[in-house]
Amino acid sequence: MNLRPYLAQMRGVIRVNFAYPARVWTGLLYGFFHIIPQVFVWRALYAGKDAVAGATLPEMLTYVVLSNLVGFVTWFNGASYIEQRMKDGSIGLDLLRPVSMRGLFVAANLGDVATSLVMYGLPQTLLAIVLVGGIVAPVSWEAFGLFLLTTLLGMGVQICWMLFLGTFSYWFINTWLMQWLLQASWKLLSGALVPLWLLPKWMLTIARLLPFQASQYTPVAVYLGRIPVSDVPRAILVQVGWIIGLLALHSLMWHRGIRRIVVLGG
């Protein structure tokens, strides 16, 4: 496969992202404002307590910092782009091109991830570490390695989720409601803002039915040893399962959709 057009796409996106200086600075500040309240609220919540649900304050703060960082890597947006191109039929034109539209789209997202990681994610994490006064070390070297691996897999889950959602939205009419619903469940059930160990059982059950925790919660939980190294293979299996399942559903709906667009003309 010739990767050149995809790399060019990534580079282009990175350049555009840097084009508006004020946006970069405000984005940086935005991140600080996002993380500062989280750090202080956990501190205040832990006042006079050693451990809550088996997690100490330093562990909790480490969770906040790392979960925020992982969020930058697993943040993929724009399922609506695919939906839009399918709905207005412009996907027909994309199919005529020698490069894959989905490939370009993923490349653009990777470009976004790379820029936001460098521009916002790392400065934000550094500030948070200073604010927190240092994060706890990973429970072991293996855990650290597996943290990186599960983060990458989390990225994969999120890419597939985005592709899935793009085609899913094509087949379902009321996407607004669905998207807000998904956003709400992401906030509550991904572990991005509240670690899953604090949730009641019934919410955990719902969380497992959605892929969000596999991309967002799993890596940090591995780092902190909330998922012990011996259980990590199972967690990885879940991630891979989501990737395969979402991809399968996506391509099924994609090919059906394409056939409908081509045969019926949009």
């Binding site: 935005y30 500062i36 609220v41 919540l45 649900a53 709400a184 469940s185 509550l188």
Partner: protein, 267 residues
């Protein structure tokens, strides 16, 4: 040539009818579903606070339900102010693409025209969410509010709505300086992140910042402290109202300055 308040209300009402008709012309249900979707989204924010706090006793002397009240009061003032100022969210588009010119060729005050034309009844969803939330948590607040409490709640919300509106007008007007950027999303992120928890959790410098520089602590923290008996009842609601009037005046002056600048150097 000043138009009366009644005249502006008339314009707002006409625009509102046209806006709703526009939405419905696509899909009768989309308007309704957006309403539900927004309610769900904000209810999930309340649920998030609940999920965070349930294993703990509370924070800085505020119980879980008192913290949720903070969020509900904020949401209400945000919804009221946004119903008017939502048209300013496109301030970059207004300036960069010249949509503002369409207002400037009319014999009206462009800011009031913009607000009247874009008045959005959809923010009722914020109000509804806040009212439902307050109704649900009220028994858990451990207070017995008399008439005066409700009056001061209303005063607080009016003051907070003015502050919130000023906090949209002011950053929107920065589009006049930077054309394609504004401080809008920055201010938005500050008011949505720092308002969730009581001010007491922050170090002094942040507290001063949120009281004096970007006074969002008046949007919910100070008034709620009064209403929950942590401070004299009349004190903070009245100060909130005064801050609101002051900030609105300042924001309008800044808008006028920015508009003059746009006309003399903008494209």
């Amino acid at each position: 040539m000043l138009n009366s308040a009644k005249w502006w209300l008339g314009l707002g009402w006409m625009s509102l009818k046209m806006r709703v008709a526009s939405q419905i012309s696509y899909n009768r249900w989309s308007y309704f579903s957006l309403f539900i979707a927004q309610m769900l989204s904000y209810l999930s924010d309340m649920a998030l606070v609940w999920a965070m706090f349930r294993a703990f006793q509370g924070v800085d002397g505020w119980s879980l339900y008192q913290v949720i009240l903070l969020n509900a009061i904020y949401l209400m003032s945000y919804g009221i102010s946004q119903a008017f100022t939502v048209g300013l969210w496109d301030s970059n588009d207004l300036v960069a693409n010249g949509t503002l010119d369409d207002y400037l060729i009319r014999p009206l005050n462009p800011l009031v025209h913009l607000m009247a034309r874009n008045f959005n009844v959809g923010y009722l969803s914020h109000l509804t969410t806040a009212i439902i939330t307050i109704a649900v948590i009220y028994p858990h607040l451990g207070v017995a509010w008399g008439v005066l409490h409700w009056v001061f709640l209303a005063v607080s919300i009016i003051g907070a709505s003015l502050i919130n509106a000023a906090l949209t007008i002011f950053p929107a007007a920065t589009s006049f300086i930077w054309t394609r950027q504004s401080l809008l999303s920055l201010i938005q992120s500050i008011r949505f992140s720092f308002n969730k928890y009581p001010l007491g959790i922050y170090p002094t410098v942040v507290r001063i910042f949120l009281t004096v520089v970007i006074p969002i602590a008046f949007l919910n923290y100070y008034p709620a402290a009064s209403l929950l008996g942590k401070a004299p009842l009349a004190l903070w609601p009245l100060i909130t109202l005064a801050v609101g009037v002051l900030m609105m005046t300042a924001a309008l002056a800044f808008w006028r300055w920015g508009l003059a600048r746009y006309s003399s150097s903008g494209s």
